[in-house]
Amino acid sequence: MTVEAQSDSSAHPQRSICIENLSKEYVKGKPVLNNISFTVQGQSSVAIIGPSGTGKSTLIRCVNKLIPPSSGNVYISGENITHLTGRNLRMARRKIGMVFQEFNLVERLSVMENVLCGRLGYVPSWRAWLRKYPQKDIDNAFSLLDSIGLLEFARQRADSLSGGQRQRVGIARAIMQEPHVLLADEPTSSLDPKTSVEIMELLVSLSREHNIPLLINIHDVELAKRFTARVIGLSMGGIIYDGPPSELTNDHLKKIYGGENWLQ
């Protein structure tokens, strides 16, 4: 079930994440991720599941180099970003939207400012400071806020919102980047079950609507099965399962999470 080797980067269509033989060790000799390879492209949404501490967050953070990988390559829409630094890295990161477990909003800024933060990669600092964004960005931000149902909150401070609303703002910020790919690191773990479903619906529908491949870390296997077209099971730093959710059996889950008592 593992993915075919990706060597020919020119063959990649637009808008894809391609991970090639990625390894990461924080401590020498103790790899957290071991030779991971897979590709996500088109409108597909992919869930990464796996036990706590197995390296899901590490994997997703290696994609935008928030954590530098130890070896291997990451291609975003065909561009190898593994060795980029400085300004080039920033240019590459604009193409990668990211949604966080704890939303990572700037609490003291308004919802609108938080959404516009997604444009910071495109706007010079002095304009950002004066809040002089191009009118197009402001229009986009308003229509995005409208579509996530937060239009009347635009002027409120982010810390006055509920968890679900904050995560919506976090998602809107990522979409504002006009990213080629969207990463989400446990976007629903701080939320209640109903809100979690709404957030997943929002993520998947926005990814469809804007034609952005989506890579989600998620603890909740049921949510993963319900909303994504493909599940990657990670355990001990390697890929144990990679396929459609319908084929994910209890046996696979036992292999991924270990033990079986937790399965009813």
Binding site: S110, E113, R131, I138, D139, A141, F142, D146, L151, A154
Partner: protein, 266 residues
């Protein structure tokens, strides 16, 4: 039904912007008036680098032999002035702080009197206090100690009054309801809750007072400052540099000491 979405976006409302603008404008006007009317002789500024170089060249080499001969005792005196002065401030600040806490003392006049003492203690600079007490007690460490004590009342008392005002009223109501006398209500109800903040304030102020007691000697109030004053008047720059260095070291040590204790206690 819903109104057309507002497409214009600005960070602040109009009145917010107006208020901020007024503050900045006010400050800018005050600054430009000040810059225009203050009497600065530019030649002095151009000359500054040579003067500074000259100063440093005279300070070097440092006269370290002077430390045991003339500095050490004065430095000890400075530390004692700082410590004793801080204790004095506490002894005076506790009653004044209590008078100022309007949840303990319900006489507005006394509250107000306490605030007046606190404000003037803080507004008058330590050197000015030192001058006053040198005039009263004559030159020497007595004037310095009283000066440090008086100067610190404002700080200690204000923060102490704030700590008392933040005290949780629950236990106090319980004690009052049980008919405890006033003093034991204070001792059992207020003090335990305010004590940590109080000791924190004490340490913080002691740290400041070490710095202050190093200079009040410049006007005759004892300690290392008097030695510094003599060295300056006699143009013994290589002694001045040793004195400054020892003040620097003592101040840094005092700060490290306070930080270490605060970490352990609070």
């Amino acid at each position: 039904m819903s109104p057309a979405p507002l497409r214009k976006w600005e960070r602040f409302t109009f009145s917010e912007r107006l208020a901020r603008f007024a503050v900045f404008l006010g400050f800018a006007v005050a600054l430009s008036i000040s810059l225009r009317s203050v009497q600065i002789i530019p030649e002095f500024l151009y000359d500054a680098p040579t003067q500074v170089a000259d100063l440093f060249s005279r300070m070097w080499p440092m006269d370290f032999a002077y430390y045991p001969a003339g500095i050490h005792d004065a430095m000890m005196e400075t530390l004692h002035i700082a410590t004793l002065g801080t204790l004095l401030a506490i002894v005076m600040a506790i009653p004044i702080g209590i008078l100022g806490a309007n949840n303990i003392v319900h006489f507005p006049l006394l509250n107000w009197l306490s605030k007046l003492i606190l404000v003037s203690s803080r507004s008058v600079n330590s050197l000015v206090w030192a001058l006053l007490f040198v005039a009263v007690f004559g030159p020497g460490p007595l004037a310095g100690t009283v000066c440090i004590g008086f100067r610190s009342i404002g700080f200690v008392g204000k923060l102490f009054a704030e700590a008392l005002e933040e005290v949780d009223p629950g236990p106090i109501e319980a004690l009052t309801a049980s008919g405890a006398p006033w003093f034991s209500v204070f001792l059992k109800g207020y003090w335990p809750q305010a004590a940590p903040a109080f000791w924190g304030v004490f340490l913080f102020r002691w740290d400041i007072n070490v710095r202050e007691s190093a200079v009040i000697g410049l006007v005759g109030a004892g300690g290392i400052g008097m030695v510094l004053d003599t060295a300056l008047n006699l143009f013994f720059w290589n002694r001045v540099s040793v004195i400054l260095l020892s003040i620097f070291v003592v101040v840094i040590l005092a700060e490290l000491f306070v930080t270490a204790i605060r970490k352990r206690i609070i």
